[in-house]
Structures are given as structure tokens and as C-alpha cells.
């Protein structure tokens, strides 16, 4: 904590080249978003409600990007054009600029808008057609990339952008290629932090990487939840699955605190629990991938758990049954999370390729590395907490 006090507010400096606004997707998607913005600027085209909604979404990210840019004291990277574009349309095309060529988006906004709508509808129908005829691929874990990109991420994004207003720092610490094990703290009664971390990586990583989360076996016992989890690329938190994913060069997300972390009382917020038995370290070592510590601030307060109905939990087969100031007293309304402001910081990767293969069997080394990862996450948590202005803003 002593260290944390001397850290200045503009810690963003450490992010290096990450000041560019979040570039959500590359290629055609960027272009589409450019044209979508153009359409919105043009007034009601065909479906004004939808256009407005989309425009709002675009604006949301722009603002988020701008805010973060203002916080950054350093000059902007050179590949960006003039930092303050006028209209949204131009801003968006500037955003799309480096990622893709946007021919004819700005000069003829109306034409572009109509073409864009047609393309969107056509794309939607083509998607529907593929889904209805079963003409899509899933991997051996059941990960349905198309569904995740087009539907599941879009469903989580409002929560991510509007409700929790997640700020992401240090995304460049996740390597652009090859495997990596992202280790994060776990909190919030419901595993929303994992999902938000997944959206954060999906929407912010310049190489468009997908985070594959490891989930508790309870997830795969529950109907509907297990189906969605598999399709979103999650799999069971066991050494076999983790190693298989890492060897395939995927970015794997794990929360080693497990139920101890997510179901801890509100009074212990931001105190990391024991990191399992450190199995994640030996898995990373065997696969020879770096460990990226990740600290999530804001998830602890979404459901302040003031009590735990143990008997009820045992009857229902859950590891805990949370009692919050609102749940279950207000019924379903009490299950609405508090709109806290989140920060997700990815820390410096801890390399593991320097170790010999048999190091994975060395318990002392495992404990040391586990502690190192845990300390780094805990330290970053304190730092972020000191910087935080308030829980909700």
C-alpha cells in the first residue's frame, strides 16, 4: 500500500502505445462501422430507432477512447491523423482508416448509408441462413466462433460499455500470437468478471484474440448455461483442457481463486484468496507460455454479499447462496447488479519458457511462482483502488 500512494494518477503512461482508441474489429467490420456512423449522421434512413441505437454505441466507444486519450499525457502516435475530428462520420472513418480502406464512405454519405444497410441486412440473412442450415463450424471444445462474435459478444457489450463502463489497460501485455495464460482475480457472486474480461480482450486486442475461459464444473452441470458457455469458448477448468488449449496457441483465462474468491463476503473485498493449488502455474510451465496477471476492479461491488444462506445453498447444490442488501428480498429486481465502474488491467507477462520441463514437478518453484503472480495482482489491485475516484464513476 505504501507503494501505491506514490503512484501518480496518470499511470496510463505505462501503457506505452496503447493510447489509440479501442479498435474493435479489423477489416470489413471497421469499414462497416464507419459507414454505420455515416448513416447515423445522415438522419433517419429506414429504421431510425435502430440507427440511433447503433450510433449511440459508436459514440460510446468514441467517447471512451477520447476520454482515455485525454488522460494520456504523451503525444499521440504518429499513425493517427489530427486528434480531434469534427463529425462522427469523419471520426469513424479515421478510426477505420488504419485498419481498412474505406472507399467512398465519406464522400457520398447517403449512398454509403443505403449500401451499408443493404449489406447489413444481407449479412444478417446470410448469417441466419448459415445458422438455420447448420453450415457452421465448432471446435472440439464446442467453441462457436461465429455465434460468439455476432451474437454473444453483442449481447454482453451493452453491459460492458454502458453499464460497467469498463476501462481496459495494458491490453498489449497479451501477446499477439501464441499461447498465454491470463490469471485474474475473481469476485462478484456471479462470474460477470470473466465475461467482461472476455469482451475486453475481444474488443480491444489489436490482433483480435479470443479469450478462452476455464469455468467451474458447476457451469457444465447447469442446463442452458453449459450450452452457452461451450459456445462462447469456455471449457472445464482442468489441467488437460487448459494444456490442450495453450498448446494450440490460444489465450486462456483462468481465475484460480474459484468459488473462494467469487463467493467471499463483502467485507473481504479485494483481498485475494488462496490461489488454488497453483495448478495453473504448472500448466503454463508445461506448455511454455507466459502468465499474464490481470486485475479487475469494480466487480467486487456489483453484488455486495453480506450473508450466505448455507443451508439453502446445500439444498440447491450451489457452493454458496448470496444474501445482498437487495437479494433475495426484492426478488428478481434484487438480482440486478450495481452499476459500478470497472477497470481491467493486464499486467506485465511473467515468462515461463526459461524453466526446464521437470520444473513443473517442483512444488517449491510452483509455490514461488504462484505467490509472485498473486502478489502482482494484489499490488495492482491496490494501485487501481487508490486511483479510483469512486465506486460508481
Amino acid at each position: 500500500m505504501a507503494d501505491a500512494k506514490v503512484i501518480p494518477f496518470d499511470d496510463d503512461r505505462s501503457r506505452g502505445g496503447a493510447q489509440r482508441p479501442s479498435r474493435r474489429r479489423s477489416g470489413g467490420a471497421a469499414r462497416r462501422s464507419a459507414e454505420r456512423a455515416a448513416a447515423a449522421g445522415d438522419g433517419p434512413v429506414r429504421e431510425p430507432g435502430a440507427a440511433e441505437r447503433r450510433a449511440g454505441r459508436t459514440r460510446g466507444t468514441r467517447d471512451g477512447g477520447a476520454r482515455r486519450m485525454e488522460a494520456a499525457p504523451e503525444p499521440l502516435p504518429e499513425d493517427r491523423p489530427e486528434p480531434r475530428p469534427e463529425g462522427r462520420a469523419e471520426a469513424a472513418s479515421a478510426q477505420g482508416g488504419p485498419a481498412a480502406h474505406a472507399p467512398g464512405a465519406a464522400p457520398q454519405p447517403e449512398e454509403g448509408a443505403r449500401g451499408d444497410w443493404d449489406r447489413r441486412i444481407a449479412g444478417g440473412l446470410a448469417f441466419l441462413r448459415r445458422r438455420l442450415t447448420g453450415d457452421y463450424e465448432v471446435d472440439e471444445f464446442g467453441y462457436d466462433a461465429e455465434l460468439t462474435d455476432q451474437v454473444l459478444m453483442s449481447m454482453l457489450r451493452p453491459l460492458y460499455e454502458k453499464y460497467f463502463r469498463v476501462t481496459v489497460k495494458g491490453i498489449e501485455n497479451i501477446p499477439a500470437e501464441g499461447g498465454a495464460l491470463v490469471v485474474a482475480n475473481h469476485s462478484g457472486t456471479l462470474p460477470l468478471d470473466g465475461l467482461m474480461m472476455q469482451v475486453a480482450v475481444h474488443d480491444n486486442h489489436p490482433a483480435g484474440r479470443h479469450l478462452r475461459l476455464l469455468a467451474a464444473d458447476l457451469v457444465f452441470h447447469l442446463p442452458v448455461v453449459n450450452e452457452l458457455a461451450r459456445k462462447a469458448g469456455h471449457t472445464l477448468a482442468c489441467a488437460e483442457d487448459a494444456e490442450r488449449l495453450l498448446r494450440r496457441g490460444e489465450v486462456v483465462g483462468v481465475m484460480p481463486e474459484g468459488f473462494k474468491g467469487i463467493g467471499k463476503p463483502f467485507s473481504e473485498r479485494y483481498k485475494l484468496q488462496r490461489f488454488g493449488r497453483g495448478g495453473f502455474v504448472s500448466t503454463a510451465l508445461r506448455a511454455g507460455v507466459p502468465i499474464v496477471p490481470c486485475s479487475i476492479v469494480g466487480a467486487e461491488e456489483i453484488y455486495p454479499m453480506i450473508g450466505n444462506a448455507r443451508t439453502l445453498a446445500r439444498v440447491l447444490g450451489f457452493p454458496y447462496f448470496p444474501l445482498t442488501p437487495t437479494f433475495p428480498w426484492l426478488g428478481p429486481l434484487g438480482a440486478v447488479p450495481l452499476p459500478t465502474k470497472w477497470t481491467i488491467q493486464f499486467g506485465e507477462p511473467i515468462p515461463t519458457e526459461g524453466y526446464l520441463p521437470e520444473a513443473a514437478e517442483d512444488p517449491m518453484l510452483m509455490f514461488n511462482l504462484t505467490d509472485q503472480v498473486r502478489e502482482q495482482i494484489q499490488h495492482t489491485l491496490y494501485k487501481l483502488l487508490v486511483q479510483r475516484r469512486s465506486v460508481f464513476f
Partner: protein, 354 residues
Amino acid sequence: MGRIVLVTGVARPLGGRLVRRIRRDPDVDRVIGVDAVPPAHPLGGAEFVRADIRRPAIARVLAEHAVDTVVHMDVTGTPLGSGGRASVKETNVIGTMQLLGACQKSPTVRRLVVKSSTSVYGSAPRDPAVFTETTPPKSLPSGGFAKDAVEVEGYVRGFARRRPDVAVCVLRFANILGPGADSPLAEFFSLPVMPTVFGYDPRLQFVHEDDVLDVLMLALDEPRRGTLNSGTFNIAGDGVLTLSQCSRRLGRPTMPVLLPAVTWLGSALRTVGVTDFSPEQIRLLTHGRVVSTVQMRETLGFAPRFTTAEAFADFARSKGPGLLPPELVAKAVDEVAAALPVRRAGDAEYQGAG
């Protein structure tokens, strides 16, 4: 001198095809097909011996013909003709015991190939996503064909210990599909409306019948250079299909049923005799099962010609269209697309997107 091969379970279509295939192998002098009932299909010049492998007579057959290679195909989930689950279980378990006992006594047997199934891994939410040959099952199958397969493999392991001079190859096949498939899963896919478990979308893997024959031929021959064909191998096509994909590709609608009701519905269907919806089958259709085929490729040196999706497509073609053929659905979507006024300008784009 060529080899003498004995094949059990030749009255089934797959066994019959295997016998005909072995007949064409120039290295093989004689093929002896064994089953309790005479086959309805031709055996292509192979000798058929009507013998029940549950009886000790099988030892005499082995000795009489000086058999050196035994292919045990009579490990199946469905009864042939009449007879219920009890007789299937007896053929699987007692038949295997008798056959292995006969092999142990026979001085001529050099090679044993056993058709097993990936159902020995069971299917549970706590299992890893992908099974390798060494993965211990989290929950052993409690009954049905999967339990038979576990027991058969247990006896085969015992035999391999007692006769180390015999090369033993256990092939764990994923769900076998193809135009002539007669497995419970093939029956399930033939239902006009497929009952599924609500809230679960299992991952399935298939292997095509032609690949089954190819890999059996590979296993009953001498190993090729750089490969080893004794041991236990998972055999499956590449890739994975989820049950929802299967139903859409078949064009057969699904009817999601809550898990407790599925068990009840399964037993009801079984009573009526529509399909063999055993508890083990329900577990497969709840949690799914995917196996690793690295050993098959690297140690056994076998590359299947059909992927899971291709094997399924071949099976789907043989089944004919369901209630909602994918072509019709696609056409309907196209018609909706054509009816939308917005789209006309973007025709060219649409072609590109589609």
C-alpha cells in the same frame, strides 16, 4: 503361406462388408465368418461357420481352421433380429470371454483385433473436453452397451497380459455412421422429430463405415514401417458436430425436453420399441463426447478419409430429407431476402456475402 482370419459377428452388415473386404486381400488365404445366425448378405466366398461365441464350440472352430488372426466384431449395442438387451449383453460379455478363452488355448493365434467404442469413457459434465486413450473416466458407465464395452476391454487387457506373444489391438470407435449404419444413434437420427435434452447441446464425433473397414484392415495386418498397430486407439473423424448442427443438417426438428422427462420419455420409447434410448445414450446426448485421435494418426498411422461432418453428410444423404430439409430452409431465407425492398440495391454484395 497366407493368413487365416476369423471374424465374429458377420451377420451384421458391417461384419459382412469386412469379410468381403478381407477376401480381396491377397495375403489372406482363408476367411472364416462366425455368427449365431446365418447372414442375410453374401460373404463373397468366405466360409461361414454357424457357431455361437457364447458356447465353447468356438474353441473347436479356432483349432480346426488353425486361425492366426481373430477380429472380434461382435461387440454391439443393438440386438440382431429378436432378443432383447439381455441376449446382447450376453453375446458381448460372455461371448468375449469364451472367444478369449479359446484364443488363449490356441497355439496358432498371433493377432487379435477388438472393436470397442469410445463410450467406455462415459460422458459427464466433469470430464475434460477431449478424451485421450489414457484419460480415466470420471464416472464409469452404469449400464448398457457402454458397460459391456468396459468389461470387454477389461477381459481383453487380461488376455493381453496372459498371452504377451499375441498382438492385441483395441479400436475404440466413435459413433459409426454411414449409409448402412444400424447403431442406436443412427436410429435416433432417423426419428422424424428428435427429442433433445433442454439446455444442452452435446458435441458429437462420427466415424464413417468405410473408415472403420480401412482401419480394421490396417489393424489385422502386419504393422507398416514406423507404425505400431497393437494397443488401444481412439478412431474418429476430424472435427466436431453439435447435436443442433446435426438436426439442422438433417432437416429434422428437435423437441427439447427437460432432463428428468427425457429419462421417462426414453423408457417409454424403448417400451414401444421405436428406438433404444438407453440411459447411456441419454448421457451422450446430454454431455457429448469428443476423443483425441492423435494416437490414431501418429502411432497407428491411419488417416480417416471422412471427417465427422462428411461422414454425417453421407449418412444424411442416405436417410432422405426430413421435415425441414436444409435446402428448403435456405430457399425460404432467400425468398424473405428477395421480398425485402431494401435489399435490391445490394444484390451484388449479397452474392459476395453469401
